[in-house]
């Protein structure tokens, strides 16, 4: 092993040990989870906004599961439950004009970036009021007004696209950054490696966030990846990287803030590996027979909302009454989203032929 790799591995491993007792070390060089959250630096308003978003996404996704079972939502539907800290923590560090692009498990990131839950739910319902006018569905949420550049359905397909968004920012000499999310299974695609190479070669302000939920559909990380330390792969491109506890929203926010600084100031990319876990199946049609109930429960002990609640309560930022108030507000927001989706009309039949071309040619 090169000395650079050794050094990087040392940097990635924390001396705290595997105190959380959650992530066992399955492979050589497996990074370990930090014992405690980073110190709070944010004001109360920011912290409550983060808490609210995480809870909103959780309840929104639970409602999606329900609506899917009722046949209100069709096709593939990939839920974000368990991974909320990754999307919310990292997006909370962005400016409004920064870009977010991601995969098909994107309801949470779409809401965190500012698409109204109403517009997301209506899209899932295939309604005209959806953020993609009912033409994209669960996997293809888009909203130009908040620079949410899509949910993309081919594993890894969004990684070159995100690299291109960052390219455009640099081309225009803007200091906008791009957050490009993908699952760990996408790391095995050529698109990941081709993109990271170009981003470091050309110094593009793209922050690659690998949401390592440890399963590519039903195939575990151990069965799919020769070197399972994703963050370490950045060294192949001389790119900065970090391994982050993806169940800890403040840790996600901090790591993203560090990456944003590099991107805004020096047009430098970063690879962040966020170790996380999805509680639901890969999609709504997946019963998840490839893992045990016990494994899921083990991760639920370190539930991102539970961890953040404890942190906020310990710091006397959040009271039980605050939690009850936010729960009530979230319940109302989700109900409003469903109501909007129910009442929104179906797309006009003429929409079938609209938007195939920006400059249509009649023949």
């Amino acid at each position: 092993m090169s000395s650079q790799l050794t050094e990087r591995r040392e940097k990635l491993s924390t001396p705290a040990g595997n105190a959380a007792g959650v992530l066992e070390a399955p492979a050589d060089g497996e990074p370990e989870i930090r014992k405690s959250s980073p110190a709070i630096q944010e004001d109360r308003e920011t912290l409550l906004k983060i808490f609210h978003q995480m809870l909103l996404i959780r309840r929104f996704e639970e409602k999606c599961a329900e609506s899917y079972s009722l046949g209100k939502i069709g096709g593939f539907c990939h839920l974000y439950i368990g991974q909320e800290a990754v999307g919310v923590g990292s997006i909370s560090a962005l400016r409004d004009d920064d870009y977010v692009i991601t995969s098909y498990r994107e309801h949470g990131q779409a809401i965190a970036k500012g698409i109204l839950p109403e517009a997301v739910m209506a899209e899932l319902y295939g309604k005209a009021g959806g953020c993609s006018k009912g033409k994209g569905g669960s996997m293809h949420l888009f909203d130009k007004s908040v620079n949410f550049m899509g949910g993309h359905g081919i594993v890894g397909g969004q990684i070159p696209l995100g690299t291109g968004l960052a390219f455009a920012s640099k081309y225009r000499e803007s200091d906008q950054v791009t957050l490009c999310f993908f699952g760990e299974a996408a790391v095995n695609q050529g698109a990941f490696h081709e993109s990271l190479n170009m981003a470091q070669l050309w110094k593009l302000p793209c922050i690659y966030i690998c949401e390592n939920n440890q399963y590519g559909m039903g195939t575990s990380l151990a069965r799919a990846m020769s070197l399972q330390n994703v963050a370490e792969k950045a060294s192949a491109y001389s790119m900065e990287s970090e391994f982050v506890d993806g169940m800890d929203v403040l840790a996600m926010r901090r790591a993203t803030q560090r990456a944003i600084k590099r991107a805004r100031e020096n047009y430098l990319p970063t690879l962040i590996e966020a170790r996380t876990y999805r509680y639901m199946g890969h999609s709504m049609s997946d019963p998840g027979n490839y893992r045990t109930r016990a494994e899921i429960e083990k991760y639920q002990e370190r539930d991102p909302i539970k961890i953040f609640t404890a942190t906020l309560k310990e710091s006397s930022i959040l009271t039980d009454k605050d939690i009850a108030d936010i729960e009530a507000r979230v319940k109302e927001e989700v109900e409003r989203a469903v109501r909007f989706a129910e009442e929104s009309p179906e797309p006009d039949p003429s929409e079938l032929y609209a938007n195939v071309y920006a400059n249509p040619i009649e023949n």
Binding site: Y99, I101, G130, C131, S132, K133, G134, K135, G136, H140, F142, D143, K144, M149, G150, H152, G153, I154, G157, I159, P160, L161, G162, T163, G164, L165, A166, F167, A168, S169, Y171, G190, A191, E194, S195, N197, M198, L201, A354, N355, V356, Y357, A358, N359, I361, N363
Partner: protein, 326 residues
């Protein structure tokens, strides 16, 4: 009017469009310092600098996708494939990203990008470097597919492609890069996409030919004229959207049609044109539609075999004679 090669006509188009719009940039393998593998991009690095004329690593999927992402953010990339054979590595980004982005985003994200480079048969480079794959791209709604056959068309169509807000697949013919013809020097010279051109008027039979097969068809028409057979030669120029009306109007006049193409026949563009003629002008036909296509085998290397794999003037003449029952 100045006489120019197709290579230089394309170069003029690129230079003019780069000068016209600061959002236009050019990227691809060897396009900058090497001056282009086929010299189409000669001099552009010197004129526009490395920010706008960019050498890429050999990473087709990566830079094709990067271009689509940049287009989502409002830039107007011109992505050169050294040859369209290598676009096969990038096809996920072309089909699943570029072609569908506008539609699946409900109209929010047009993708104004041009993917261009040489395609079709080349000289003695065997199976992987010598093939016509326009039917793959023409299959997909959301893409426009352009194949010029003359230097003037190459210039005017490429300028239109760069100004168009949709993804355009622009397939040049490597063996036509040296072809000379009159080319307007005017910066505003554009040829609209989706418009076929009658390259030669005639009354007895219609030949539909594109790209490499257009000069072959013109030569065949010339030979046939000596025997008193008057051929109308039509170049669709844009494969998608196809100007089928111009073809159908010609067939209604001549009542006989030959479709000449260097691609494989199965599921090819010629098959689509043939079906469209059957649907729209069946009652006008005095003979079944006839296709002249590349042989349905991977391209061989040996000179004698390669010559037999690509349709020539004699085959087009024979086809016209067949539909004319001569």
């Amino acid at each position: 009017m100045p006489v120019t090669t197709m290579r230089d006509a394309l170069n003029q188009a690129l230079r003019e469009e780069l000068a016209r719009d600061a959002n236009v940039f050019l990227m691809g393998e060897e396009v900058a310092e090497y001056q282009g593998a086929y010299k189409v991009t000669r001099g552009l690095l010197e004129e526009f600098g490395p920010k706008r004329v960019i050498d890429t690593p050999i990473t087709e999927l990566g830079f094709a996708g990067l271009g689509v992402g940049a287009a989502m953010a409002g830039l107007r990339p011109i992505v050169e494939f050294m040859t369209f054979n290598f676009s096969i590595l990038a096809i996920d980004q072309i089909i699943n990203s570029a072609a569908k982005m506008l539609y699946m985003s409900g109209g929010q994200f047009p993708i104004p990008i041009v993917f261009r480079g040489p395609g079709g048969s080349a000289y003695q480079v065997s199976s992987q470097h010598s093939q016509a794959i326009e039917s793959w791209y023409a299959y997909f709604p959301g893409l426009k597919v352009v194949m010029p056959s003359t230097p003037a068309d190459a210039k005017g169509l490429l300028k239109s492609a760069v100004r168009d807000d949709d993804p355009v697949i622009f397939i040049e013919q490597e063996r036509l890069y040296g072809l000379k013809g009159e080319v307007p020097e005017n910066d505003d010279f554009v040829i609209p996409l989706g418009v076929a051109e009658v390259k030669r008027e005639g009354t007895d039979a219609t030949i539909v030919a594109r790209s490499w097969m257009l000069p072959v068809a013109m030569k065949a028409a010339e030979e046939l004229a000596k025997d008193g057979v008057s051929c109308e030669v039509i170049d669709p120029r844009t494969i998608r959207p196809l100007d089928i009306n111009t073809i159908v109007e010609s067939v209604k006049k001549t009542n006989r049609v030959v479709i000449a193409e260097e691609s494989h026949p199965f599921c090819g563009v010629g098959a689509e044109i043939s079906a469209a003629i059957s649907e729209r002008a069946f009652d006008y036909l005095d003979a079944p539609v006839k296709r002249v296509s590349g042989v349905d085998v991977p391209m061989p290397y040996a000179k004698n075999l390669e010559r037999r794999a690509i349709p020539d003037v004699a085959e087009v003449i024979a086809a016209v004679r067949a539909v004319s029952y001569l």
